[in-house]
Structures are given as structure tokens and as C-alpha cells.
């Protein structure tokens, strides 16, 4: 595995990107930082710029207006960058599947590496998912 990817598994810097969500998942992501769940002890930290990110946490059902912005953000991310789809909406559009303003799922635009479903997924579920991802990356030789 590349050196970059190996370094990533020590301390994963995540960037949060909403493609048009109801914010429940977004709030639970922030909740991960609060003292009860304290994602920092796993090395998970939120960063403010996608250029510093090792992973992108994507929420939302991909609103049409947001599509060009999402593509641009991903283009700016330093590769390798893993994409984590958080919440039922980003996993497969969920309840908005038949909406005319959200015709495509997130993985039609971004290469998703791991799906964490839930509406919203509990912070424990998100941490478990990210830890699984780290283990998977470590397992890749």
C-alpha cells in the first residue's frame, strides 16, 4: 500500500460535504466530536479544507443545484481520498428517490468507498464504519 494511504490510517482527517441533506447526518457527524463520543481518540478530525482531507464524509441525496459544486470539490481533494457515504440519502437517495430534483445517487458522481446507512446513523455507527474502513485499508497490501 502506498505510503500516503498508510499514513492516513494513523490519523484520518475528514472533510464534511453535504450534497443537499436535511442536516440530521451532519449534526450527528459534529456530535462525533463532542465529549461523549470523542472521535478524536480514534484520530478522526474534521478539517476545513478539502485539500487537507484524507476522507470526505458525504451526506445528502445529491441535489441538482449542488452537482457541479460537488464535482469541483472532489477535483480539489488530494488523492488518494476515500469517500464515505453517511446516511441513507447518500447511500441510495432514501426517501427522496423519486424526486425530480435529486435524480441520481451520490455514487453516480463520486466513487464511494464505504456506505454507512441510517437515518441518521448514530455516531457509534459512524465511528464503527470509519474504523472498519481503516482496517480495510490496512489489510490492503
Amino acid at each position: 500500500m502506498s505510503l500516503r494511504l498508510k499514513a492516513l490510517t494513523k490519523s484520518i482527517w475528514v472533510y464534511h460535504l453535504s450534497t443537499g441533506s436535511c442536516n440530521n447526518c451532519d449534526i450527528e457527524i459534529i456530535d462525533m466530536l463532542t465529549p461523549r463520543f470523542d472521535a478524536e481518540r480514534f484520530g478522526i478530525t474534521l478539517v476545513g479544507s478539502v485539500r487537507h482531507a484524507d476522507a470526505i464524509l458525504v451526506t445528502g441525496s445529491l441535489n441538482l443545484k449542488a452537482v457541479p459544486r460537488i464535482k469541483q470539490v472532489y477535483a480539489q481533494a488530494a488523492k488518494p481520498c476515500v469517500i464515505i457515504a453517511i446516511g441513507t440519502c447518500s447511500c441510495g437517495q432514501g426517501i427522496f428517490k423519486n424526486g425530480p430534483n435529486c435524480p441520481n445517487p451520490v455514487d453516480s458522481v463520486l466513487p464511494v468507498d464505504i456506505y454507512i446507512p441510517g437515518c441518521p446513523p448514530k455516531p457509534e455507527a459512524m465511528i464503527a464504519g470509519i474504523v472498519k474502513l481503516i482496517e480495510k485499508l490496512n489489510g490492503k497490501k
Partner: protein, 144 residues
């Protein structure tokens, strides 16, 4: 102002332009009026009856577009809905932006969703839909 006073005043001011009145319940009344007197009744409600403009809802009934303007008279809890019918294809009505600023966004939304033109608004661009949404494609219309 008392409930009955407000209702009477609207009826008097509408005159022959009042097409229907529905006293549904203590806090819900519906007036069907001609679009020509909308501005006048809205002015009465906002200035004299101290009502608050709550929102407006448009619906495509296939034959026409019906807009409901909802006003709340908070001190008595009364919710007044003014129903105005716009016959297709003449989907034009006076904007209420001159009366209160909170008409701005809701009229833009009704324009992009139903294709209604609000005379005097001056800024009928997309509020919610993306800018290159297909022209003439109004999502809440039923003639799609």
C-alpha cells in the same frame, strides 16, 4: 379587532368581487375573491386588521391555477385564506411586494413552480431551482 368585524369588513370591501365565503371553523376562514381586488383586501388586512402575512400556496387544478394567500391575525388566532383563481393561460396577478417585503420570496417560488407572473415584483428569477432548469418546465404544474 374582533373576528366578526374583520370578516364583515372584508365582505363589504369586496362587494360583488366576493365569490364565496367559507366559515370552516373558529380559526379558519376562506374567502374566494376576484384577483382584481387582491391588493385592496391584502392592504386592509395588513394595515387595518394588523394581520401578518404567513404564506401563499398555489395549486394547479388543471383548469386554472388557484392561489391561496394566508394571513394570520395573531391576537385572535384567526387564519384567513384569500382564494384567487387565475384562468390559464392568463397567469398574471398583482405582486404584494409593495405592501410587505415578505412577499418577495414566496412569489418567486410560485413563479418558478407554477409559472405565475407577479406584476410589479421586478425580480422573477429562480429562487430554489437551479438556473439552467429547463424553461417552461414548472414542476408543480399538472399539464406536464
Amino acid at each position: 379587532m374582533k373576528r366578526e368585524t374583520i370578516i364583515q369588513n372584508i365582505k363589504i370591501r369586496s362587494g360583488k368581487d366576493l365569490l364565496d365565503f367559507q366559515d370552516k371553523s373558529k380559526n379558519r376562514v376562506y374567502f374566494t375573491i376576484n384577483k382584481t381586488i387582491l391588493l385592496q383586501i391584502a392592504k386592509y388586512l395588513f394595515n387595518d386588521a394588523n394581520a401578518r402575512f404567513s404564506t401563499a400556496s398555489g395549486v394547479d387544478t388543471r383548469k386554472a391555477i388557484e392561489i391561496l394567500y394566508h394571513f394570520a391575525v395573531d391576537d385572535i388566532g384567526l387564519f384567513i385564506s384569500l382564494r384567487v383563481t387565475l384562468e390559464k393561460p392568463n397567469l398574471e396577478i398583482d405582486s404584494l411586494l409593495g405592501l410587505f417585503k415578505c412577499a418577495e420570496w414566496i412569489e418567486m417560488e410560485m413563479h418558478e413552480m407554477l409559472g405565475v407572473n407577479f406584476k410589479g415584483h421586478g425580480n422573477m428569477k429562480h429562487l430554489l431551482l437551479k438556473d439552467d432548469w429547463p424553461k417552461g418546465n414548472y414542476p408543480l404544474r399538472r399539464d406536464l
